[in-house]
């Protein structure tokens, strides 16, 4: 046990210093320096005495493209006490153009030290040149020989009918295999992305048809391997990069070795055949596209139908919109139709059936809109429009379906359901009918009638305010009158006179004297004259100023003179005469009262 432990320690003590002082190096190698556009190059980066793969980044620019790898391998050897640790990274690359190209050197850092690789020059010839050069190639590797030989007899080409397409226009690239050898099997690498394009589909052709074609005066069997449906997402000159196709070929060794030929007549060999890059010019669509354009490019037809043209409210109906034709079917959606607000519309369910026929993307797309109308009515669905860019006419074309009508009836079941939520009173009310019409109009009012603006509604307030104002004016007026003795004297003249006339003494002479005083006082009060002796002339002048009736003036003069006469002959007065005089005076006073 102890001995074994010491042995392990000893080994470690020997190995660790060797590892520490081992010289780290990075080598880059390729399996060929002369190649063509269809033959992949195996690039191997070998790290000697690295405990781990260092991080590095290399850039081939536009010259080469990685089509496979990296695959990792590591090797540890101990030969004659010398330990060597080797790690390898292997890439499959392919040249993207012909000529003399260089795999540039690249730098990496590992544990504080910098390492740099060498440049490798590669000569890339066209296919024919390689064939010629092959004879002069001094490669002694038998396997490589077979590969080159097979590569010459087998190649894959991308076939595309169009060299320029519109943005959004789907097109098909068919990868066609040309072969003079027997193919056992082939394997297509799944293409994950192509810059500037959207890969709609990579479709392997099942049961491909074998045809014979002549290329460069040589006869080839051709097979279409797969279709690549692409839609450009950018404009300009875009490149579809080289694609690697693994083909298993059945090779027959032309070997002189009878032993070998006896046991092994034929072998299968896996060949990586490169389909070269393809350039496509992507054009911008013209401006001024209609509102209903959602990116469809090609040639399409539109069909729209309703699953039912007459339904009950709150029942579903399906509006089926079908777009069929050729073009970028995968790459557009249908513009949302404008439905009436009474419709509840769900997100459409989409079905598509897209394929490739004669190198064109064809098929149809169906959108199913489930519609639930809320209320009854006869609805006209607004025109359903679809616009695409017609590649043949080179302009935008709008398809329209405008004759869709949907009749929605009352949903009796729903009405019953609603009734369940009503109170008893409400249900009773529902069974009643509305009140009948009014048969005649009464009062007409303007449309913007407002009772506040109608002054008639303020009539009582006006009257009330008028009464208040009048009352105060009245009070003020009488306050003024009562405080003016002259006016009071004038106003009260008749009242006082009448009162005194009622209280005449029974004696005729005294009564006459009193009557005379009453009349005298009345006239003095009315004309605002000083009491005592009044002259007829004075009275007449005053009344003349007031422009009284002449008859009245004569009557005053007559009564006045009559009384003057009777003063000197009181015996002439009897009771009848007194009464007559009294009435005459009273009548005169009432007439004079009217004179202001």
């Amino acid at each position: 046990m102890i001995r074994s432990f010491i042995k392990k320690i000893m080994i470690l003590l020997i190995v660790i210093p060797l590892a520490l002082f081992a010289e780290r190096k990075v080598d880059v190698s390729v399996d060929r320096t002369i190649t063509n556009l269809r033959t992949p190059i195996t690039l191997t980066i070998e790290f000697t005495d690295f405990s781990d793969f260092p991080k590095f980044d290399f850039d081939f620019g536009d010259d080469f493209q990685i089509i496979g790898g990296p695959s990792q391998s590591s090797n540890f050897s101990w030969i004659n006490g010398k330990t060597t640790s080797t790690k390898k990274l292997t890439y499959q690359i392919v040249a993207r153009k012909t000529g003399k190209l260089t795999i540039p050197s690249f730098e990496m850092e590992f544990k504080g030290e910098n390492y740099k690789t060498n440049n490798i020059n590669i000569t890339v010839n066209s296919q024919t040149q390689t064939n010629q050069n092959r004879k002069s190639s001094n490669s002694n590797n038998a396997r490589q020989k077979i590969s080159e030989q097979v590569n010459e007899q087998l190649f894959v080409d991308p076939i595309c009918e169009k060299s320029s397409v519109y943005l959004g226009e789907s097109f098909v690239i068919t990868y066609r295999l040309y072969t003079q050898v027997n193919i056992a099997d082939y394997n297509i690498t799944k293409i994950s992305s192509i810059p500037g394009f959207m890969i709609e589909e990579q479709k392997q052709i099942k049961n491909p048809e074998v045809t014979t074609r002549i290329v460069n005066e040589r006869k080839y069997k051709t097979v279409d391997l797969f279709n690549l449906i692409l839609t450009p997402t950018e404009t300009g000159k875009l490149e579809i990069p080289p694609q690697n196709v693994r083909v298993e070929v059945n090779t027959q060794r032309q070997n002189t070795d009878p032993f070998d030929s006896f046991f092994n007549m034929s072998r299968n060999k896996v060949i990586n055949s490169i389909a070269p890059a393809k350039n496509i010019n992507v054009l911008q669509l013209p401006t001024g596209e209609p509102e209903s354009f959602t990116g469809a490019v090609g040639n399409f037809k539109l069909s729209v139908n309703l699953s039912n043209s007459e339904i009950e409210a709150n029942q579903a109906v399906t509006l089926k919109v079908r777009v069929l034709g050729e073009g970028n079917l995968k790459n557009f959606t249908f513009p949302m139709p404008h439905f009436p607000s009474q419709f509840q519309v769900f997100e459409p369910k989409m079905k598509e059936n897209i394929g490739v026929k004669n190198n064109k993307v064809v098929g149809d797309k169906i959108w199913e809109y489930v519609i639930i109308p809320d209320a009854k009515g006869d609805y006209k669905i607004p025109p359903i429009k679809f616009t695409y860019y017609d590649l043949k006419k080179r302009k935008y074309t709008t398809l329209k379906e405008s004759n869709l009508r949907l009749k929605v009836k009352r949903n009796e079941h729903l009405v019953e359901e609603r009734l369940k939520n009503l109170t008893r009173n409400e249900v009773e009310l529902l069974n009643k009918d509305i009140r009948y019409l009014y048969l005649n109009e009464s009062k007409l009012k303007s449309l913007d009638y407002s009772p506040v603006k109608d002054f008639r509604n303020w009539a009582f307030y006006f009257i009330g305010i008028f009464v208040i104002i009048t009352f105060f004016i009245y009070r003020l007026y009488w306050h003024f009158i009562l405080n003016n003795p002259l006016i009071v004297r004038r106003q009260k003249a008749l009242t006082i006179a009448k009162k005194e006339l009622d209280q005449l003494p029974s004696d005729t002479i005294k009564a006459f004297q009193k009557l005379s005083v009453i009349f005298n006082n009345y006239i003095a009060d009315r004309l605002n004259l000083k009491g005592g002796e009044i002259f007829l002339r004075e009275i007449v002048e005053n009344y003349k100023k007031k422009k009284i009736d002449g008859e009245l003036l004569i009557k005053i003069e007559f009564i006045w003179k009559d009384m003057e006469e009777k003063k000197f002959a009181p015996n002439l007065i009897n009771k009848d005469k007194l009464e007559e005089m009294k009435n005459g005076i009273l009548s005169l006073m009432e007439k004079l009262e009217k004179i202001k």
Binding site: S341, L429, S442, L444, F460, Y461
Partner: protein, 273 residues
């Protein structure tokens, strides 16, 4: 003041003259419009309605509506026509318009009650305190015109009650008797005057500051902002009564539903009351 002064004939005559003038003015204004042509159109519409030609009846009624003047009966009948044509939103709109002219009319209140049962949108609000409930009911159903007149009469009577005793300053005993009779009615009238004034002015204020509308389309999406692409805040159905808060661009109204939900609505989808 002297009782004899009160008997001043000239003043009394003057007062009587003024009363007669005011009354005659009113009588003249209240006189019914003798528009026979209008009457004939109205009768034709009624006859079409009774023959169940509701659309024809509606068109005929609308000829009258298009003139400057309308009547409660016309608006009520137009509402009935819309109801018969199954246009519940318009029916409610016209009955509400009629109710504005005659809020206490039993027929219009019954029709509105019946129509409201048929509405899809129902909001059950918590029951308010009974006094508030009565007050809101009074405020909404009060006939402003009638109540203005009642208030005017009370105002006038109160003034007269205050003035009359002033004329009996010379007859103290009679004056005391009158004051005694008028004592309680005077204070009742003052109280009535105050209460009716408050309710009436609040009601006028409520009617002037609140504009209402009725949804006249089957269904409407109330948006959060005044544009078609705006997010839907809530959905209203035909006949729902909404309060118009403000107007934007003539095409959009800011509305509230039961003072709870607020949003924007296209103006052509509601009928203003």
């Amino acid at each position: 003041m002297n009782i004899k002064v009160f008997k001043n004939r000239n003043f009394v005559k003057y007062l009587v003259k003024m009363f007669i003038i005011i009354l005659l003015l009113n009588m003249n204004i209240y006189a019914k419009d003798n528009n026979y042509e209008r009457e004939a159109i109205f009768k034709k519409a009624v006859s079409e309605y009774s023959k169940k030609n509701y659309e024809e009846a509606l068109n005929t009624f609308q000829q009258l509506e298009n003139t400057d003047k309308v009547s409660f009966e016309l608006l009520f009948d137009v509402g009935n026509c819309y109801y018969r044509l199954d246009e519940l939103g318009e029916a409610i709109q016209y009955w509400e318009k009629a109710k504005k002219l005659n809020p206490s009319n039993d027929d219009v209140n019954f029709n509105l009650k019946l129509a409201n049962v048929k509405l899809q949108d129902k909001v059950i609000l918590p029951k308010p305190f009974f006094l508030f409930k009565y007050y809101h009911s009074i405020r909404q159903n009060i006939n402003i015109k009638h109540w203005m007149n009642y208030l005017g009469i009370i105002f006038l009577v109160t003034i007269i009650i205050f003035i009359i005793p002033k004329f009996f300053n010379n007859k103290r005993r009679l004056q005391r008797k009158i004051l005694k009779i008028f004592f309680i009615p005077k204070y009742i009238l003052i109280l009535l005057l105050i209460i009716i004034s408050v309710v009436l002015f609040d009601s006028i204020n409520y009617n002037n500051n609140n504009k209402f509308g009725i949804v006249v389309v089957n269904k409407i999406e109330v948006k959060t902002e005044p544009k078609e692409s705006g997010e839907t805040s809530f959905i209203l159905h035909e006949g729902s009564k909404i309060k118009i808060l403000s107007k934007f661009n003539r095409n959009w109204y800011k509305i509230s539903y039961f003072d709870d939900k607020i949003g924007w609505i296209e103006s052509n989808k509601i009928g203003e009351i």
